[in-house]
Symmetry: C2
Subunit: 385 residues, 2 copies
């Protein structure tokens, strides 16, 4: 038996050709393309197709895929009714896990629940993927309105994925710069090798469970505070700090107490998180477009970044993708506790690429255990204990 | 980096003291107690507490636990409304994943969604466990009635777990022998080391996700046709055979075509599945109690077993736990496609024991990958592809 490594750290659990991280150099690439190039030139729709198929699509392939996404944005009204029956006090990630699990009943993947033969059918896998990626954004945006007691804003099919997503939150014509920023945020969060939620995809998929069950499992895994949710913590921290002049004292107190500074450092990167400078630059664009008139949150974030750069850069700790994405989502009017649901929408692209890859060479996950318990005990009647 | 083993076969993924299998000898023990002794002497309530705490409870401990289970059987009427909004054509396992995911919103585990400190609080873990195990049976039995258009039968608190479960399906005073058989079925399915769904528990739990999200993830994993669902296949096969005189030709044709005989053999046991003879003996008790007047399904099952014993015993292939449990559930009036939901109810005991064990020494799962994809590609504008 191989050595026991807690959390399977360093243990290869799959062969994959979807993405790669070079933590020493601070590089992340999807299908071999550096993330910086994709963020600068591509769209979430194109990146999704790249993740799924392995190649940049032709213009026609992208057009077809985009049309499929657009025509699958709407969800049945019974899903709206189901969402209305959920307590508004619940966490949006619990809502999302519930709603996605229910999709399998509303839009059956019944082929996958029988002998699994059709699971190898690429067209089937492609269709399921489109339906899930298209509808998750709708469900997430619907929840903002439903939990406030309003009817959700139906999706539009004349907008890009990011534009429509932004539109469904606000009901207003999407601001082009904010839509572009959201598009880039979705690209940056779409995939990140084998983390806990993507690993949950592989484990659940390996029993040939339906893709809805697979994504619901991944959403549950992402909901844990050790995985998703860091950008929510960043914004909560910025609100707690309150004013730019409070930053230094706050950060130094946390450092002295060895407390986490949310949004700083990343276990995978020994140097800068390659996604952070991309968002930092978009944050600057947004500030410029607004003539320097930014929200208090934005101002506090800038000072936090400066102070942390001063205190932590010599230890190789820099702002990560979560630091900026939370601030940017706040500027879009998205409630703090829904940030992780946007992460899930973006990551659904990577999860479904891994679902497809798992099916292409499937073996059910059944690791073993180091048994440390009792042996050879005999039952004792309850009156003799 | 360690060697890549597909499905992590033989790779230790956890230290555990909950259960152990000796596949060569055909032994299964929970906390060191052989399953045969527990099935003969114990109850599902006691076995659940044994799995959770590691020791057989005193009479007072068991009484307290049983009272907690009894008082948590009811579910809020909004959960019933949510279930009514689900399509009756969906698979019951999809319903169960949806409903359990929603429980986190109805009965918040909010402590677990913040910094996780209270996750180490044993009382909190114990309370969540009771609530989930008590309510899952209610939800599963409710679905039988809701999907037929009837109001569900509310649980009773004057019955044991198995008696009440049976009562909620039929609305009749539970037959003592059938209740005992169901109790034993629950004991036999409560735990089975690190299979795919239990592994999903560990992965999802490792991010400190709420126990509802953890169990929803496990249910999704169990729903796949390579994992749960074998006893459903057994009964479908028996119905397909139809008459005792068809058995020989049917089995021989399947063997000649190298097709699976559902309910025969088990990958973990080189000899007999230790759970099978226990259920076989209960099947005989039931036949005797009915003066030999059994259903057609029961008669066909007996002949299938004889024919398979003749053809396969020399290869070490015997009837497994799924072969008998499906036949017995059919005798209880439980619909075939709900068998896997009963498996999930029983296994919730083991899943929650593993949840607790994972929290006691947690490390987030983040295995690595063997990267087999492209590197160093450059983005090509769409008109140049």
């Amino acid at each position: 038996m191989s050595e026991y490594l807690p959390g399977l750290a360093g243990v290869p659990a799959t062969k994959s050709n979807i993405s790669a991280i070079d933590g020493e150099k601070g590089l992340l690439a999807y299908r071999g393309y550096p993330l910086e190039e994709l963020a600068a030139n591509s769209s979430f729709e194109e990146v999704t197709l790249l993740l799924l198929d392995g190649e940049l699509p032709t213009a026609n392939e992208l057009k077809d895929f985009d049309e499929q996404l657009r025509s699958n944005r709407a969800v049945k009204y019974n899903i709206r009714e189901l969402m209305k029956s959920l307590p508004i006090t619940g966490h949006p990630m619990e809502m999302l896990q519930t709603a996605v699990a229910s999709l399998g009943m509303f839009y059956p993947a019944s082929e996958c629940l029988t002998d699994g033969a059709s699971c190898e059918d690429l067209q089937y896998v492609h269709n399921m993927t489109v339906k899930i990626i298209a509808r998750m954004a709708t469900i997430v945006a619907m929840w903002k309105h439903i939990r406030n007691g309003y009817d959700p804003i139906p999706p539009r099919d004349d907008l890009t994925y990011a534009e429509n997503f932004l539109y469904m939150w606000t009901g207003k014509e999407p601001d082009p710069l904010l839509a572009r920023i959201l598009d880039v945020c979705l690209i940056l969060h779409a995939e990140h090798t084998i983390n806990a939620s993507t690993f949950a995809v592989l484990v659940t998929a390996s029993t040939l469970a339906s893709p809805y069950s697979v994504i619901a499992s991944a959403i549950g895994t992402l909901s844990g505070p050790l995985h998703g949710g860091a950008n929510q913590k960043v914004v909560e921290m910025l609100h707690e700090i309150g004013e730019p002049e409070n930053v230094e004292a706050y950060i130094d107190a946390r450092l002295a107490n060895k407390e986490v500074i949310w949004g700083m450092g990343h276990r995978e990167y020994k140097t800068k998180d390659p996604r952070a400078p991309i968002l930092q630059s978009l944050m600057m664009d947004l500030m410029e477009a607004r003539g320097g008139k930014m929200s208090k949150l934005f101002e506090v974030a800038q000072v936090v970044e400066e102070v942390c750069e001063d205190r932590l850069a010599n230890k190789g700790v820099y702002a990560n993708v979560d630091f900026y994405s939370g601030v940017l989502y706040s500027e879009m009017g998205i409630p703090t506790d829904q940030f992780t649901t946007i992460f899930a929408v973006a990551r659904s692209a990577g999860w479904l690429a891994h679902w497809r890859e798992q099916l292409s060479d499937n073996r059910i996950f059944r690791p073993t255990q180091v048994y440390t318990g009792e042996s050879n005990r005999s039952y004792i009647p309850i009156d003799k204990r």
